[in-house]
Symmetry: none
Subunit: 402 residues, 2 copies
């Protein structure tokens, strides 16, 4: 087991734990001011909390490694992100509430626009509406015939995104992407990445070719590309491992997918981040552990919008008093990785981290920010250890050993 | 694999990386001033660089472990120094450009002076000249007969040092040293350190006994002792693992040996540290990764020469602007271990570390020194992760996972 806890230390306690995850929270200094997004944002509540919390920096995977959202979140929940890494396809399928069975292989598809010679001209087919996406998926369901011995499922996600699932015996996830990640070229032919994957490649290529035929004649969404082939295996759940009933309050499919993979109950999608806190309040008595996911800091970081990311963090700061009012035993605020606006992508830099509980030492920090957190009592801590820290501070771990 | 990177994150980028390694850089406070060698040295360039770099302390192996040069350097290049540790014999053989083959067993030999009753009176035979060393090695080559089924090679190193290599099937490295590491006693008989090493012990003892006979009659170098029996295995190279063409600019055999083990190209031995920078400038376009090794801080530290070590560090500081002028994507300055002058030996203390790149956070530090580095954004980081950090900062790693 790659669990991060010694055996037999989990106790049934009743301290509630809230993980407030600001996606892409960590940043880099703005060249004009020398301050990061978080240091720039006006965050009176997080600053106040930092002064009475255990603070530090969370390293998502290993030094220098910029994680995708999958490993970034698995680590936060105490699952070693290298051992438990899982492909995009499975996370996408779980994110749209598809009931995966052990051995299913899933891939993330994009609707694309291709020209007369088969070259991709738009990898997102002009971002169709969700309604249009559903119409196109129905067309694929009706028109694509499953190869012998395999079941095939198409599930709409959002805009240009859909999920393709194969069910049958002997399938493999060792299949390359058809998505070339660029325009002006045709989709790539699938390749086996390991011995034994040849049949899955054949089946998947057949289905992708059929998709192409079925969509011929569509104005914009006249093609598909596939990536992130991944096989579903059952994960030990949060409840199995930590004896906690867990609720995930997340608005985007990918994060809902990770939560589902770990057996969390999924709150119906809130309309806003304020709505996420409404849900937390409404269901606070029912659960022990709450995962609240906020997407905007990461989105603004990827856009290179430094000010927008700072404003997104300020919007979360304003919600903090409502969480505090519920008096969880532990409130942990961090991110799954850094997304510096200057870098415009996920990065490897450790993420500011704040753990509020009555059992902290505290350190003399002035507020919540990358440089202040360096002075904190938690130091630079591997994200996979945060769950143990939270459990301990919530009175949910017993002594290890005699 | 004990590599420190998850699979599939290495990208072919083009950011160049320079590792400037000051052997034995880390120190301890002088009892009179309370300042370490580095803190004492006048290093305006390193101080300036530290203020705009990511700084921290590098822990070579594990807390409390003082590494030899082999593990110290393997860690710097991202090879877990415990898993990839290799014996002195192999490093010495590679350091004199001997073409080792898989399965060869090498040992480091000293010419020694023994008295009439066979006791060692000088473990270095009065430090013969290199020319005298070559004459003695020729004498051994001519006089020693290889045991059946084994080839035997003698290679001169410097002064009293030579290398002995055995080639043949079924050889083992589990052979004890004959070097007693003291005088007044005879060389030790070789012992098998694991089952299956008995034949290698027999072969090696026979060769050492023949050496003794051949050298009888020599004035001073009338004996040999052996240590560091080690079997060569092929290592994954820097190019295999990181997709970088690597150049080693090192003036001492041991460090050239490590570089060769990892497949780096070896620059012909420069005459001085300034000459090392000349070589860097001359070959900067040809390679992606540069390992520059500076020996003097370690040598002065082992001598107990506190001032000499500080002056050696100052000499390196003066070379920094020439490296900066080449505009590498990453300049990393650290050591393979500490060699405090007060301690007169390799020590376990973490080593000051500076990583200059445009993707750093920076922290408020006044300069480059052991205590200032404690405040840095990298914290205390295991040396084996430095390569990942350098690759990330040079744009040579892609995101891990979906």
């Amino acid at each position: 087991m790659a669990v991060q806890l010694p055996d037999d230390v989990v106790e049934r306690g009743n301290g509630k734990i809230v993980f407030l995850i600001l996606d892409g929270l960590g940043g880099l200094p703005h060249p004009d001011t020398g301050k990061t997004e978080l240091e720039t944002a006006n965050t009176p509540n997080l600053d106040r909390l930092a002064r009475t919390s255990a603070v530090g920096l969370a390293e998502p995977v290993l030094p220098g490694i910029a994680p995708g959202s999958g490993p970034g979140h698995l680590a936060l929940f105490g699952y070693d992100p290298i051992r438990w890494n899982i492909g995009r396809g499975v996370l996408s399928a779980l994110g749209v509430d598809f009931e995966l069975r052990e051995g299913d292989v899933a891939a993330r598809l994009n609707f694309t626009t291709v020209d007369a010679s088969g070259n991709i001209v738009d990898r997102r087919a002009g971002r169709p509406s969700d309604a249009e996406n559903r119409r196109l998926v129905e067309k694929l369901r009706a028109g694509v015939r499953a190869p012998d011995g395999v079941e095939v499922f198409f599930e709409p996600e959002k805009e240009h995104r859909l999920v393709l699932v194969f069910r049958g015996s002997g399938l493999s996830e060792a299949v390359s992407d058809s998505d070339p990640q660029e325009t002006g070229v045709p989709p790539l032919r699938l390749q086996a990445l390991a011995p034994g994957a040849e049949r899955t490649v054949q089946v998947a290529q057949d289905v992708l070719d059929q998709c192409q035929s079925v969509l011929r004649g569509e104005d914009r969404a006249n093609g598909v590309v596939a990536r992130g082939f991944a096989q579903y295996r059952r994960y030990p759940t949060i409840e199995d491992r930590y004896s906690m009933r867990a609720l995930a309050i997340a608005r985007y499919p990918m994060y809902r997918g990770v939560a589902r993979l770990l057996g969390m109950e999924l709150q119906p999608v809130p309309a806003s981040d304020e709505g996420s806190i409404d849900a937390l309040e409404a269901r606070f008595e029912e659960f022990d552990f709450f995962f609240i996911h906020v997407k905007t800091p990461d989105a603004r970081g990827e856009d290179g919008d430094f000010e927008g990311k700072a404003r997104a963090i300020e919007a979360v700061d304003a919600l903090i008093p409502r969480i505090e009012a519920l008096k969880p035993a532990v409130l942990l605020v961090t991110g799954d990785h850094s997304t510096p606006a200057t870098f415009r992508a996920h990065s490897w830099h450790p993420v500011p981290l704040l753990l509020s509980s009555k059992w902290v030492r505290t350190a003399p920090v002035s507020g919540f920010g990358e440089r202040e957190c360096l002075k904190g009592e938690l130091g630079i801590v591997s994200s996979k250890h945060l769950m143990s820290l939270a459990l301990a501070h919530a009175g949910r771990l017993s002594k290890y050993g005699a």
